[in-house]
């Protein structure tokens, strides 16, 4: 079966600093992959390469088997890949409603904007209360909710979520993961980038462990916990 997203021997740099050294990764249609690794392992760069935010200097990126390397970011979005980048990825000068409208109008069309806004506010009632507030004036957690609300309502073909739980209260993290489960069961594939593994491994079928910009291990998510803990002890022993 053709993978929905495939990275083949991908190398990437930020100026003189190389971040990826020949990474291979596959996300099948409807599948869920957890991308694990320590700080600076290259997880965020993989997510960025998979949506064209960072162009691969070598290697290929394909969506549905179609070559996408060096294509602009909007082409990835139009191919059905939604990306919730790490941190507060919002338009700070827009209101909450304008932030959501921009995304929904572009992905779902004008007719579905109202309905999608209601879904987003149902998922995060706090955002509903602040729908006319400028997004830059929201608290850190609320800004994170807004950037997640954008993508959770879309039900794209593939959702790439980078450090979902960062800045959110544990109870909100639980809610976000149950929403992810729901959209997964409706057919959306997931690539979850997380430092905190427990939630991610519960949700995903497969896991990929990155170390120093290379794939150090990949396999079933159920085995990942032991492998990662083992490697942690190994590196502590070194």
């Amino acid at each position: 079966m053709t993978a929905l997203l495939e990275l083949r021997d991908v190398w990437a740099e930020y100026g003189p600093f190389r971040a990826l050294f020949g990474v291979d990764l596959k996300v099948p249609p409807g599948g869920a992959v957890a991308l694990l690794g320590a700080n600076g392992a290259g997880k965020t760069t993989v997510a960025r390469v998979a949506t064209g935010l960072v162009q691969a200097s070598a290697g290929d990126v394909a969506v549905d088997g179609i070559e996408m390397t060096n294509r602009p970011t909007y082409a990835y979005a139009r191919a059905g890949i939604a990306h919730a980048p790490e941190g507060r990825s919002i338009f700070a000068s827009f209101t909450v409603e304008e932030n959501l409208t921009l995304t929904f109008r572009s992905f779902l069309g004008r007719q579905k904007v109202g309905e999608s806004l209601e879904q987003a506010f149902e998922l995060f009632p706090r955002l509903g209360e602040r729908r006319s507030q400028t997004a830059g004036t929201l608290s850190g957690g609320e800004q994170r909710m807004l950037s997640l609300a954008r993508v959770l309502v879309l039900q794209p073909r593939l959702l790439i979520a980078d450090e979902l739980s960062l800045g959110l209260a544990p109870i909100v993290v639980d809610e976000v993961y149950s929403t992810l489960e729901a959209i997964r069961s409706s057919g959306t594939a997931l690539l979850i980038v997380e430092q905190h593994m427990a939630h991610a491994l519960e949700l995903c079928d497969d896991a990929v462990l990155l170390e120093h910009g290379k794939v150090a291990w990949q396999g079933s998510a159920s085995d990942a916990g032991d492998v990662v803990t083992g490697r942690l002890f190994e590196s502590a022993g070194d």
């Binding site: 740099e13 979005a77 700070a92 000068s93 409208t101 572009s106």
Partner: protein, 697 residues
């Protein structure tokens, strides 16, 4: 009762009289807001874009006898958007995530390059006294006076009608169409916009086409109601006056910009109607009447920036995905191989020795004068190195600081017969004080607003302070000039050009060493920390306010010293030629385009400013290479317009290399040489290990 009704009638008349001017300000202010809102660029080239469409319309009507609709179609709806799309594609697309200073530099470059390019390629030359025509037949000769107080021409009414329609249409685009939201999104974060499936390039091109069309329309409407002759500099000046109206719109609100523009027109008209009368009765108002009427827009602008909290609160919103960009490269000097450093030093010493000895022993008087100008200008440019290069602040009033140094020398020598060298130090200290005081109210302003505030100060200085007898010399200076003697120090008389050149070199070297010391010392490191992150710097006990005041004062001191040297060199202040506000815009562009963070950048900018015209445009260099002046090709001397075009092209190149063209060249050379040296070292290592390996076996 009669008095009251006469007052009201005069008030109404002055308000109506101010409405057409207000409409002109509103057109430009709306243009500023539109471009800023849709592309994030504070477009000082708006006047140039407006001029091109107005000139094209004028040419089509008068030379080609085209009908009004066809002329409007071509000049406003074809040429103007085409220019917008070209500018976006080749310049502003690369600047989307660039700093405010980068964008400003490019628009200043465009504002001089675009009119010169148009005039050369469209074979257009302004003819004095040939008044522009408008978009309605007999626009300037048919008047309507519904209230019996003030007659409006058809052209004025047409302009006012179009402005209203434009605000409504543009407002609707922003409010009811997806592209309005998309244009704002691209300004804030093109990458986030693309993550939403929107092609940022296309949205951006549309935004530039739209704002450029508006600029073209503004040009065609403004020309007949404002100017007697179509000259690009007039458009340039109107743009500066209208910045106050754009500030009222906080660069984001179209209706406020409209109200600001009309309000500014009314305010100036009412002020100019009533102040002369009141000043007849109240003597204390006379200085205000005599000095302030020209500077009203700038006083209004400065007051808005300083006292309106909304402007102070306005902060630049950063791109949340800026982490995708590679980190800025370190200066080439810190990374180059020690061999290259030695070679560069050796070359520099050799070059300057050669040039210095040639100038001292072989050059004639005019060349000594040019080289001295270059050295003195380089000293002034070091002030830009400090404020923009080290502190990251855009100051557009360095000319005013330099002029303070120059005028102090003139006044001290003229009134008190003081030694000019001592006067130069006093002048530099006064400039430093003025710089520190001026920086106080504008410290909290961010990026582009600080640039606008310094520009307002420069124009205020130009319109008011220079005219005061105790600064610019007043009527006496107008009649006799602002003469300044050359210094005498003990037995050395610097009246001799060559000895003055030696003095200029000494002052430049001492200032350069001080600037380098400043960069490496506590102040330099503090400024670097603030540039990195103001919040982080504050958290470790650094006061950004104090550091910025120190930077402004130091920079103004250097500018004042350089200005004083320039004045002594020319034996005259020559304010208009040397220190005008528009001139200091060009200074900034030149230094920033070459290299703003290094002393070499300032020196090379000084040399370029002084030498480019005689060496390149007049063909002296070419003649020297050919060893004969009579062999010079016929196209020498090259038209002065090419200077503007080349200056603009240089500024545009800056769009691709924001570190400066010289620094870019240095980095490339350094990287190339480092690679080669690394390969050489590796080869040596390999051969050595092979040799030792061979010995073992």
């Amino acid at each position: 009762m009669i008095l009251a009704s006469s007052f009201l009638e005069d008030l109404l008349r002055s308000v109506l009289q101010g409405t057409p001017s207000g409409a002109v300000f509103a057109l430009v202010a709306i243009g500023f807001v539109l471009t800023y809102k849709t592309s994030g660029v504070f477009n000082l080239a708006f006047g140039a874009q407006a001029y091109i469409s107005a000139a094209m319309f004028f040419k089509a009507r008068t030379q080609w006898n085209w009908s009004i609709p066809l002329s409007v179609l071509v000049s406003v709806f074809v040429l103007a958007p085409a220019i917008g799309v070209v500018l976006e594609r080749f310049l502003f697309r690369h600047l989307r995530t660039a700093s405010a200073v980068s964008k400003l530099v490019v628009t200043i470059g465009l504002s001089v390059a675009l009119p010169a390019l148009f005039e050369i390629f469209a074979d257009y030359a302004p003819v004095a006294g040939r008044a522009p025509t408008g978009i309605v037949p007999e626009g300037g000769s048919v008047f309507y006076d519904p209230l019996g107080v003030y007659p409006f021409s058809r052209d004025e009414l047409a302009a006012m009608g179009v402005i209203l329609a434009a605000v409504i249409v543009l407002g609707a685009i922003f409010r009811f169409t997806p592209v309005g939201l998309q244009m704002r999104a691209v300004v804030e974060s093109p990458r986030m916009t693309e993550l939403n499936g929107i092609a940022a390039d296309r949205v951006s091109a549309f935004a530039w086409a739209l704002s450029s069309t508006f600029a073209g329309m503004a040009g065609v409407l403004i020309a007949p109601i404002r100017f007697n002759t179509l000259i690009s500099t007039d458009f340039f000046n109107v743009v500066f006056v209208a910045i106050a109206a754009a500030a009222i719109g906080r660069l984001v609100s179209l209706p406020r910009a409209l109200i600001g523009g009309i309000g500014l027109g009314w305010f100036i008209a009412v002020f100019n109607t009533f102040l002369p009368r009141w000043a007849d009765d109240h003597t204390w108002l006379r200085p205000l009447r005599d000095n302030f009427s020209n500077s009203l827009p700038f006083v209004v602008l400065f007051a808005i920036l300083v006292f309106w909290p909304a402007i102070r609160r306005a902060t630049d919103v950063g791109d949340p995905l800026s982490g995708v960009d590679p980190p800025p490269a370190a200066p080439a000097a810190t990374e180059r191989h020690r061999l290259l450093t030695r070679f560069t030093l050796l070359f520099a010493v050799g070059f300057f020795l050669f040039v210095g000895l040639t100038v001292f022993f072989r050059a004639d008087r005019s060349w000594v004068f040019l080289v001295t100008s270059a050295v003195v200008l380089s000293t002034v440019y070091l002030s830009i190195t400090v404020i923009t290069g080290f502190a990251g602040q855009i100051s557009l009033c360095q000319g005013a600081f330099a002029a303070i140094g120059g005028f102090t020398v003139f006044q001290m020598a003229d009134r008190f017969d003081l030694s000019v060298l001592l006067a130069a130090l006093i002048g530099a200290s006064i400039a430093a004080l003025v710089g520190a005081i001026m920086s106080l109210p504008v410290l909290r302003l961010g990026g582009i607003w600080l640039a606008i505030a310094t520009l307002a100060f420069a124009f205020f200085f130009d319109a008011v302070l220079v005219r005061m007898s105790w600064i610019g010399g007043g009527d006496t200076a107008l009649l006799q000039g602002t003469r300044v003697p050359r210094p005498i120090l003990g037995p050395i008389d610097f009246g001799n050009d060559k000895s003055f050149l030696a003095l200029a070199v000494v002052v430049f070297v001492i200032t350069s060493l001080a600037v380098i010391q400043l960069r490496e010392g506590t102040i330099g490191r503090t400024l670097r920390a603030i540039r990195g992150s103001e919040v982080a710097a504050e958290s470790i006990g650094i006061s950004p306010a104090k550091a910025r005041i120190a930077a402004f004062a130091t920079s103004a001191f250097i500018a004042g010293l350089g200005g004083a040297m320039m004045t002594m060199h020319q034996e005259n202040v020559n304010y208009q030629n040397n220190f005008s506000p528009v001139g200091s815009l060009f200074w900034l562009v030149l230094v920033v385009t070459l290299s703003v963070r290094t002393v070499e950048g300032a020196a090379q900018a000084g040399a370029a400013f002084s030498m480019f015209e005689p060496l390149i445009l007049k063909g002296e260099l070419f003649a020297w290479l050919l060893r004969a002046e009579h062999r010079l090709p016929g196209f020498f001397p090259i038209s002065g317009k090419w200077r503007f075009i080349l200056f603009g092209l240089g500024a545009m190149q800056f769009a691709r290399h924001p570190e400066g063209l010289l620094e870019h060249g240095k980095r490339r050379a350094t990287a190339g040489l480092n690679r080669r040296l690394a390969r050489r070292d590796q080869t040596r290592l390999v051969s050595r290990s092979a040799d030792s390996g061979g010995g073992a076996t």
